[in-house]
Symmetry: C2
Subunit: 358 residues, 2 copies
């Protein structure tokens, strides 16, 4: 069992059975991530394209519309009222977290497939509303966990599922960046507890959480946590350390941070080996490095760097076109919001909180 | 501020002001670690030598005595009765944890300096007895935290203290190995809750715990933990994940394990950078690697590999000869036993446990 075999056709799209057509997206919320990451990825996608922008400031997105040949720019009112529904097949929701449910409900009402950014909502109630709306309308709902579409992560998952490290024992990981860095100031929704549902955990802590869940194929059953926040972070967690308990006593020791030096990593120790995702384990820019330890041999694989966001759009569009089941669906997004909610309760009470999935 | 500067005279003994003489050691407990690690280190030391062995099986240590030119082999009864006290100046206690206090009390009684293996004792009460005995007799007591004498760790500490990564924010680390591997079977004191005071946490979890304390110069104030153990590990923690809270909300997410693939690592993220100790962060064999991230530059330093156990003996002997203060003293060993005791309470109750240091 050699990690090399798994990386031989590194970027293969194991989900791609071929499909006809293109899914046209309305981008709901045109902030930094939509402009810098999503629109370029869509421009490069095989099965997806952007045809509509929904924004509260139409004048501010003129350049983006022009650059990407997008004919329709709608206000939120127009979007909710059903304008230009002929111009798009699916909705990509990339608003502040608390506004996801209403954007998703409208999409469902208009019979549009939905790709929603993570976390699915700011609260369990919001996530339930989103899931219910899409179930009732029978439209696909996916939570945009881009890591699940990074070839490095998919190959690593295959390796782990085939027993590459034996049974999983302990995980550790984290994701932290300077949320105030660059042109970002204190006036951003990520620092607004109402809009974001929390701080570092909601924004970046979900990366180790969901990627771990994906890699080891299990749901955490309990959580303990410690958090802090001060100054501009008075309302949200600037830093959080949370410790998850999975079935069979498997543990995950994770952290998230909104200040200090950027860092992201994930490692999984098993009975027969351990694997590490480093470089930038969860970032959108730097390439990821996989290090595998097995039989006293350490193997390092540096991937070529792939746009996992383009892969994510193509995966979702392919599923919409073919009617295939979606991996990280709304239910999965809801489960993670249950975990983050329990983590905040654990941090506030100082007690181990069991996670209930129904 | 370049990490290179700190590693330029990598192995320098910053504690060595010169000393005359040699400290002669009685080795109390001649198990695998004494034979494979301590005796070879003492043979190579500048200020220390082994002159007495104390064992419950004199016939089994004949080879070791012969190989190292050791003239005195005592039973525990003879040791406690004060035999051959002229033949040694200091005692190195390397018995099962629960037996440290009585060996230390006897050493103090005979006016001998004491270097005791970690953890200082199996219980807080035992550690207090050890500290009290040495204080009353006015003999030096050191807890054998070998990592503090590894040049890699000392250089890294200087770098951190000089602000190399800014203020500390989050730590993560762990140490796990297969306690049943090699010729070791289930009949070993490390799996006996009475003798060891616990499992993986007591034996290897103290490495990230104490090394973190040393590197960031702070004591944890609270802990949460999750543990499991089954089969031969029914009485002790086979695996534990513990999360420490330091002052100012700094957190440390640590793990320890007694089965599965060997792994040890430690990383510290600060406001201005982060550092990682990898390779074998805490092992006695593999060299350690230091990776520093700062100003978007990643620097890797591979040390030449140094016997930190020899360094530890020489440090202690030098302190005994010169009367200088000891870094990891008995009080520090006692503090760590308070932390491990609190961690077990946290794991059993599922609650955050505050750590009291008096």
């Amino acid at each position: 069992m050699q990690i090399h075999d798994y990386f031989d056709e590194f970027a293969r799209r194991d989900w791609d059975s071929g499909a006809d057509g293109t899914v046209r997206f309305a981008i709901v919320g045109v902030g930094g991530f939509a402009r810098k990451a999503a629109l370029p990825a869509l421009a490069d996608a095989d099965y997806a394209e952007a045809t509509v922008l929904v924004t509260s400031s139409p004048e501010k997105v003129e350049d983006a519309a022009e650059n990407h040949d997008i004919d329709h720019v709608l206000t939120y009112d127009e979007y909710h009222d059903g304008a230009a529904t002929d111009a798009y097949d699916a909705v990509y929701v990339v608003t502040p977290n608390a506004l996801h449910p209403e954007a998703i409900e409208t999409a469902a009402e208009h019979d549009k497939a939905v790709l929603s950014e993570k976390p699915l909502a700011a609260t369990v109630e919001g996530a339930e509303r989103a899931v219910d709306a899409c179930e009732s309308a029978d439209v696909p709902l996916m939570t945009a966990y881009r890591m699940q579409f990074d070839p490095v992560v998919r190959r690593l998952r295959e390796y782990i599922r085939d027993g590459g490290i034996g049974d999983t024992l302990q995980l550790d990981g984290g994701f932290a960046f300077d949320v105030m860095g660059g042109s970002r100031g204190p006036d951003q929704w990520r620092l607004d507890a109402e809009l974001a549902g929390g701080g570092a955990l909601m924004d970046v802590g979900v990366y180790p959480l969901n990627t771990a869940r994906y890699l080891v194929d299990a749901d955490p059953v309990a959580v303990t946590a410690t958090m802090r926040g001060e100054g501009v972070f008075a309302d949200v967690d600037e830093h959080i350390a949370f410790q998850l308990e999975f079935p069979d006593g498997v543990t995950a020791s994770f952290t998230a941070g909104f200040s200090g030096y950027t860092k992201s990593h994930l490692s999984i120790r098993g009975t027969e080996g351990h694997v590490e995702l480093s470089g930038s384990a969860f970032g959108t820019e730097d390439p990821r490095r996989v290090t595998v330890h097995r039989n006293r041999v350490r193997t390092v694989v540096d991937g070529p760097g792939t746009s996992e966001i383009r892969e994510e759009f193509d995966y979702f569009a392919h599923a919409v076109l073919t009617g295939e089941e979606i991996g990280p669906d709304g239910e999965e997004g809801l489960r993670d919001v249950r975990v983050t909610t329990a983590a905040y309760e654990a941090a506030e009470t100082g007690e181990r909180v069991e996670i209930r999935y129904s």
